[in-house]
Symmetry: C2
Subunit: 365 residues, 2 copies
Amino acid sequence: MSRINVTYRVHSDAADIEARAQAIAVEQSVEMPVAAIKSDYVLNEILGRVEDIADNGDGTYQVIIGLAVETTGFEAAQLMNMIFGNSSMHTAVTLLDAEFPKELSDTFGGPRHGIEGLRERCNGAGRAMTCSALKPQGLLVEGLADLTKQFALGGIDYIKDDHGLADQAYSPFAKRIPACAKAVREANTETGGNTHYIPSLTGDLDQLRDHVRIAKEEGLFTMMMPPMVVGLPSFHIIVRENPDCAFLAHPSMTGGGQIAPVFLFGKLFRMLGADAGIFVNHAGRFSFPKETCRALAGQCLADWPGIKACTPVPAGGMTLARVNEMLDFYGRDVMLLIGGDLLLTGDRLTEATREFADTVANYAA
Amino acid sequence: MSRINVTYRVHSDAADIEARAQAIAVEQSVEMPVAAIKSDYVLNEILGRVEDIADNGDGTYQVIIGLAVETTGFEAAQLMNMIFGNSSMHTAVTLLDAEFPKELSDTFGGPRHGIEGLRERCNGAGRAMTCSALKPQGLLVEGLADLTKQFALGGIDYIKDDHGLADQAYSPFAKRIPACAKAVREANTETGGNTHYIPSLTGDLDQLRDHVRIAKEEGLFTMMMPPMVVGLPSFHIIVRENPDCAFLAHPSMTGGGQIAPVFLFGKLFRMLGADAGIFVNHAGRFSFPKETCRALAGQCLADWPGIKACTPVPAGGMTLARVNEMLDFYGRDVMLLIGGDLLLTGDRLTEATREFADTVANYAA
């Protein structure tokens, strides 16, 4: 039976680490005293196995546990239960990585479009892509549509809803999406451009489906969801049901590192179908180290048989002044997302957006 | 407009705390530079407000932010986005508590049955309740049904699936649930008892609905779900669609404390409809402090206008030897969950289960 090899970082004394590793193997599989298990099948095939323990030399250990892939039922919620569910309650345990066997990644299938698909949509072959965000929530539909048009007139590739834009009374989804889609169509007609509007989908699976339907009726086929908020199963089902749509994963509720972001974006969200992953860039409003960002982008793009590349989307307080530095850092396989800094330009929004798009288009590494 | 007053613990220098608090208020509401906001409505009604900052004297501060309740759209996923979504990525920020306005708690409605409803189901008026867990996964349906019968013959109140029992090839949900339900019916007929079997529901919303249907067809009306795994919206929708069912919340993926468990179980899961919350007891396999457990149980049971009490279910490596100590600690408003320690008794399982049930029934505080 294939195993998922899951890597945890465990704070432990040297004297305790073997017992702790064994305890994780039990917790993440049979979750009961092994002495009480009589079935050879359970003991040989289902019980988690300590595959490796390596001393990091800093009071922590990297522990690799082999978990039987059948325990996941090949379903997203149960996958999460198995790789981290109960152990998440141990403050001393971090989920660092997992090697998913091919039958599991084939089941979920990864991004349906990937970075090249997103490039194709915006005629962005061979270059980095640009994105901005509609904010703030609280603006009425007309205000948001007006902002959308100004962004689109600037020739940006993608305009996404702020993840705070859900289905609130002041800008209901069913009114906001048609209005913003129309604004982009009008701007594209005017400029001959190819800007895409990305609605943010939130809520339960019924609502997500309803929102997808509304978006598609407006000719929109790129959307955003926060997997940790709507739940991994809902995220994946929406991906699976809509192979004509590309999906950005939003990082809301991804937490402060108890699940390593490199794994979360580059492996888990990607396997479940994220065509792009928005994460917080170094030296912005959040505190991801530079090396985490580099590793995250690298993992999103890394070769993975049968699984397309997920577009890294560094964000979180990025500025126009940093565009060249970010392109130097990430290369062309990236989508740059700048929201607030563009909005700060006020009456110059379209002009500033054009400068952003041009800077990216003209960048020559 | 009503506000949700959210309390965060923030690691900060004294010099920075006001700016950090203001940054959280912005991040959890408009998520953009305030200087770029022109709308008075947004500035006055939607922008988060720093309501209080208190020095904990240990390098941390308690910061209270007032968030407009309308930003939640009165929906579970967006509620999570608003109270912690992006700030979850700050390692220095912990979500400690939130005061939900009545229009929000009325919308979600809390437990449909609560602790008294669970007592009524098992003729447990005036006493603590007992529960055990079916394990390990990997056993075939017949093996699980046999264990179920042995537990039920011992007169326990509830028998829950291990949360690892999902819809795996070795014990598919659609076969396991009828078999275990039948085992309990047979045992109840034999003993005249009133044991209830609690299936664990996992998966996406379609699967959850399918599983609920299968369970109800077997006459089962008490079920378990892991809210953080299936997603808060799915958890709540299943509660809402099935007012005849009581639901236990399982703690899988609740994490190592970045969201305070007292809040998560006593406020959030409870408001979304958890009739009982399984949490890890002190001095078991996990490291919750005693005082956290006491506070958690207290919050689950605390008066809340219009919202029923949620049953505290301390678990995680509990033993028969600790039953009296746990009853001394928690009182009668509790459901004691002992799994592995009962299973360790092997051929004495029914007898040991009977001792567990009798000890709880005969306990006189």
